[in-house]
């Protein structure tokens, strides 16, 4: 009796979860399907889940149009997201190490000041950061979308939490061997922190890849845009060419989904844990 009940509950659980999963997969599938439709078929009032005829016209048109250099946007996004993630690691890791493992006079005040900025709503940074980026002559170029966001406190927090958990014995042994702090950081702390560094790299990469508002306003010329900003502008200009829009959306999705398929565990664990220990 109870075994039947348990089986029934399990079946119900799977039913509910599968229905939700269908609500997630079917829109994505329809996006993919539509990108292979003709212009007319994409505008049809009766939805078809199998394109007839199957065509790559939408991809050809969006890739060849000078208004929508999707491959350039793709390359820009890739460069920006990689550059941003590298910059976050290179600046946050030593800073976090110092705050977690070194003793110095200003440690508490510096850390408190970084903490305090977590309570500042980022909207107040929008206008002044545009003016600063403009002063640096970075408007309409990739440094504008790579550098300013690396000032955020998240990476330092995230790595500091991790460095705090490292055992001190290895560092002490390295010190007895005559290593200085920098050598200890590079040859002891960093190798032990590979999972945390990889997670932070992924999270920073994704955050930058997906950023929308800032690149939309700080990048202007078509060949300078990142994918989200490019698609956003393209949508305003072609809001009924759904075949093109879906083809663009697929091009923007595939690399992230591939990355996600490989690193799904790390991404989810990193995100779900990052909020808990602040």
């Amino acid at each position: 009796m109870t075994r039947d009940l348990r089986g029934l509950r399990r079946a119900l659980l799977h039913l509910v979860l599968a229905v939700i999963a269908a609500l997630y997969l079917s829109p994505l599938l329809y996006m993919f399907v539509t990108s292979f439709k003709t212009r007319e078929a994409a505008q049809s009032t009766t939805p078809r889940w199998i394109p007839d005829p199957v065509t790559t016209d939408a991809y050809r048109e969006i890739l060849s149009s000078p208004d929508s250099p999707v491959l350039t946007w793709f390359l820009n996004s890739l460069l920006a997201a990689t550059g941003h993630a590298v910059l976050v690691l290179v600046t946050a890791a030593p800073a976090a190490y110092a705050l977690a493992r070194l003793r110095f006079r200003l440690r508490t005040p510096i850390f408190s000041m970084i903490v305090a900025t977590l309570f500042v709503p980022p909207v107040v940074l929008l206008i002044p950061n545009f003016l600063i980026v403009n002063q640096l002559a970075w408007v309409d170029s990739l440094p504008a979308v790579i550098v300013p966001a690396a000032a955020g406190a998240f990476g330092v927090f995230f790595l500091r939490q991790f460095f705090l958990t490292l055992p001190g014995e290895l560092e002490e042994a390295a010190e007895l061997d005559g290593c200085n702090r920098w050598q200890i950081f590079v040859s002891v702390a960093l190798p032990l922190s590979k999972p945390a560094l990889a997670t932070l790299f992924l999270l920073s990469f994704l955050a930058n890849w997906n950023d929308f508002l800032w690149p939309l306003y700080v990048l202007l010329s078509p060949e300078a845009l990142t994918l989200p900003a490019g698609l956003g502008n393209f949508q305003s200009a072609n809001n009924i060419r759904y075949d093109l829009l879906m083809a663009g959306a697929v091009i923007a999705s595939v690399p992230v989904l591939l990355l996600y398929a490989v690193a799904q565990r790390w991404v989810i664990e990193g995100i779900s844990r990052s909020g808990l220990k602040g």
Binding site: P47, A98, P121, N129
Partner: protein
Amino acid sequence: MSVTTAPGAVRHAAPARTARRMRWWTPYAFLAPYLALFTVFMVVPIGFGFWTSLHEWDINLPAKPFVGLGNYADLFDPGSVDGSRFWMAMRATGIFTVASVPILIVLPLAVALLMNGRFKGRNVYRAVYFAPYVLGVAVVGLLWRYLLDGNIGLVNHYLGLEVQWTTDVPPAWIALVGVTVWWTLGLNSVIFLAGLQDIPRELHEAAMVDGAGPWRRFRAVTLPGLRPVMVFVVNATILASANMFGQSYLITAGAPADQTKTAIYLIAETGLRQFDMGTASAMSFILAAFLMVASALVFGAFRDRRKP
């Protein structure tokens, strides 16, 4: 900055022995690259933004006259053009936040409770629900702009409706909230799920021994155990909803008649398209004040009452 910090304040944590061989400037060298970024793009802009809000500031004009609190006074005058626009956008942000946050807490919590156990396919479900968050708002917005199209969209087709989701209110609000739930359900779910797994099993078992039913256990064990996670999620969700931009930009473009144009959307348009940066900065500080009050209320509401 003061150099005479009380030495006791920094004594804990780091191993004492290692401090000996370090030159005094070594930690600052470690910190320097990050602090340079932090200063230029975080500390300076906060002050500079407020300074800007006290001026009539157009990036293209050489003269930037000081107007004191004039921009703020203008925004608090409901009869002014800027003021009426701004409060309409604040209203849109308020409507969206109030409508979306409860759903973005309750549904992900329910999904997390369903997934809190060991069963086959659990990680697959989790990965699927989380996928749209990875795709980002641009892809999600484009996709749903298509699915919600009033004439040819799948949503109307399968629901048998003829609703103009992208150009009518209140349907546009339902669309914007719905898309946001679809987009970020997985995010809040995995955070709740991690929190649920941190609650010791013994607590549940003890409550069961005491004869507590599922609902009692949820109230007496699960919710209190989730408190720190809940504070974080509620706060982060309020901030995210109050900063909603992409959905509105891509799906409704603020329609109808700017009724779904959110505050941050208006701030970006005012400051970075029309280059009225003084007014836009003043708007951002008023919005920030609201957000800080909201955060304070959340922390107050979830204060641990068992502590003195």
